[in-house]
Symmetry: C2
Subunit: 438 residues, 2 copies
């Protein structure tokens, strides 16, 4: 085949047979297709994970810009280093100290959002076929990254207290028995995406111990830890293990994602390689974005602003839980104490992906549960985000969702009376609370 | 071995045996080590490739910021799409039209600097052992990327008219004869880095034809094309081949690198995969940076600003060439008609890397030629950048460099009179002009 069109296959891409093997693992996520839908103004989107940036006073951004340009304008326009600007890295230490982390400024690497840290760590560690352990369910775009480096993603079950240590142990044993190489455990221990649950302190210690004993690096992703609604979550896993954890943080949820500034805190040797990988990928993260954030942290009441966000998201969480209890009492869901997400379990036989077009017709969007599993699980789950719509829209969105779900249940009920399946009882999820995960 | 320190090797990295195979290819570039040196104020650095951002009036940036925040502030703070903001992609079409490119806005993908487009294209195409063809010498951090995906970099010789088509043909034949898979040709056809030469129009057409006939994608990297000093370079290779070329552009040199905004223009099918790879890597490029640039392009005299940059860099090029002719007439060098770099050839037996510490002692820095080859070539070459220092500093830098080089020559001359090597005549490069490359 030549690339000017003489291939005989049915694929119209003339470069079809030229891609790297890993490119076969790059497919559009189910979340991606939703972005187009969610952007229509008449749809209440409970699908995306966009923070409510309107909660950030624009004068704080304008002030940071003016001060930055007055004192560091040329530096903001120029390349900087692959590790990130030192002043910002010092400030990142202060942010992490709020979750019990003590670290050296030398071990912080600024990245283009924490997403890029995920990509770089995966690039550094994953050979084709290596196993990445991940919570079931797990963050969809982390799994896209793992797949793009041909990792073998294996889920470890979680419950309302997060990842289950005993399940982790048995999963590791099973994989080792068949000769698999397990490179790291990817986890969002606080207010997880999508499950909205938090790993207890005791389990954090136990999981670190299990991973240490098995040479498994822990990749602790913590975008939501500071966005708690009542009391703080347990301290970060990194706070008690500096050799076995790569910790990922971001300003996307506590400030704004538009700057694309996140970071990794890594053990020394890994950090050195991360810097090299970062330089190869982008030369240096945006100086402009870094210095805007550095100036903001230096002069604005950033902790007060995080409290503002907490209040906003707590109200929305409350609105969502109240609406679920009112409109969909027959379902079960998790009760997040921070973060952005509620994980809902539909009756066993329902298919949330198949239901989505009907939901969009009712002008509400969500993310189907299968998006958060690499193995096809999650068919009767949905993730609902309460971060972006106002409480009123959340309530209206849940009402619309109840129309769709109740319609499905009616249909299934009718169907069950006229088919052999009628002998199978409807298995509804347990009533909420308590939470109920996968 | 366990990662808490019971390994028996001499390596102190407890994760030493856990990295992916590709990570072995990630090593610090010679340019990287220079950044620390070059930042000392007493050193005249002719080493880096930092654009002269002080040539950009800060009120243009402030104006763009104010207008952007007034009309698109929330969008600037939010996530955007993995392809980039549509309005900016439309403006990028106008920029590319200046170099003869006609394209669809759908085929532009905004990236975190064009560096990240390089990384993503390499990730999409390179299996371990695949060949990337690159000019000899070639851009150092492109080669870092290729190595990080375990590519086999093969150089194709160039002369003062750029890459030599006949050499490309024979290189391809030789590689195919031994069963190698050649995935793409990486080239900087206009004002190349580091050689400072420009590929003629006739050669552009011939090279496209050669690559088309051999199923080799052309990766056309064009950061400097608009920074010509007299007349424009030949039109972009992409202007006559939309199926066989991935074109990379950037705002880093015509505006400022601190925003980290570049782009790829790719054939449809490749573009789709680039968007997915971009989303996996960073979710979306910085909305803030994209909208700042979009607002700047919409309201500032950006073409006039490029003319200003042209004038600045032309003066500096002139200062460098004049100083070389005055202080180092015995050497040869290229005569760039645009861009940032002059490529200097030292006498055959000199080692520019070994000489660098002596240069730094004389308070001048350059980049050794070996940094720009994957195969150890370039030992007696250096790259001199005229983009950042003022003409006065450039002149002083070249004077200092002449002290170092003349000192070396004296030493070699003394040595040659007292050793068996005395019978080997000194082979000096031809006097400049004309240019003389590898």
């Amino acid at each position: 085949m030549t690339h000017d069109g003489t291939n005989e296959g049915t694929n119209f891409d003339p470069w079809y047979d030229r891609y790297a093997d890993r490119t076969a693992g790059l497919s559009a996520s189910e979340v991606r297709a939703l972005f187009a839908v969610a952007s229509r103004p008449e749809v209440v989107s409970l699908a995306g994970g966009m923070p409510f940036v309107a909660g950030l006073p624009s004068e704080l951004i304008a002030g940071a810009f003016e001060r930055m340009m007055a004192t560091q304008g040329l530096q903001a326009l120029q390349y900087s280093s692959g590790q990130g600007i030192p002043a910002l890295r010092e400030q990142i230490l202060e942010v992490m100290a709020l979750e019990g982390i003590r670290a050296s400024v030398d071990d912080v690497v600024v990245t283009t959002g924490s997403q890029h840290a995920l990509e770089l760590v995966t690039k550094l560690f994953i050979n084709p076929g290596d196993v990445v352990l991940a919570e079931g369910p797990s963050y969809v775009t982390a799994m896209v990254v793992f797949n793009s480096f041909q990792a073998d993603i294996t889920h470890v079950p979680m419950d309302e207290h997060g990842l289950i240590p005993e399940a982790l142990r048995s999963t590791i044993s099973r994989l080792k028995a068949v000769g698999k190489t397990i490179k790291f455990l990817y986890t969002i221990p606080s207010f997880s995406n999508p499950a909205g649950v938090t790993l207890t302190w005791e389990r954090r210690l136990e999981i670190l111990e299990i991973c240490r004993a098995n040479d498994i690096l822990v990749l602790e992703d913590n975008p939501y830890g500071l966005l708690y609604f009542d009391s703080p979550p347990p301290q970060a896993m990194r706070s008690v293990d500096e050799d076995g954890v790569v910790y990922l943080g971001t300003f996307s949820k506590t400030l704004a994602p538009g700057f694309r500034v996140g970071w990794a805190l890594a053990p020394h040797a890994i950090r050195e390689k991360l810097i090299l990988a970062n330089e190869a990928a982008v030369l240096s993260p945006s100086s402009f974005g870094q210095l805007m954030i550095s100036e903001y942290l230096a002069t604005a009441d950033w902790k007060g602003q995080i409290n503002t966000f907490r209040d906003i998201y707590r109200d929305r969480r409350d609105a969502m839980l109240a609406a679920l209890a009112e409109y969909l009492p027959q379902l079960s869901w998790t009760v997040p104490t921070g973060g952005f997400y509620v994980w809902v379990t539909l009756p066993d036989h329902m298919d949330s992906k198949a239901m989505l077009p009907r939901a969009v017709k009712e002008l509400v969007a969500y993310t189907p549960g299968t998006a958060f599993y690499a193995d096809g699980s999650g068919r009767n789950n949905i993730r609902l985000s309460f971060c972006y719509p106002t409480p009123e829209f959340i309530r209206e969105g849940i009402r619309r969702l109840s129309v769709v779900i109740n319609g499905e249940l009616d249909l299934l009920s009718t169907f069950s009376q006229t088919s052999p399946l009628a002998t199978i009882p409807l298995k509804l999820g347990i009533a909420s609370p308590p939470s109920n995960i996968g």
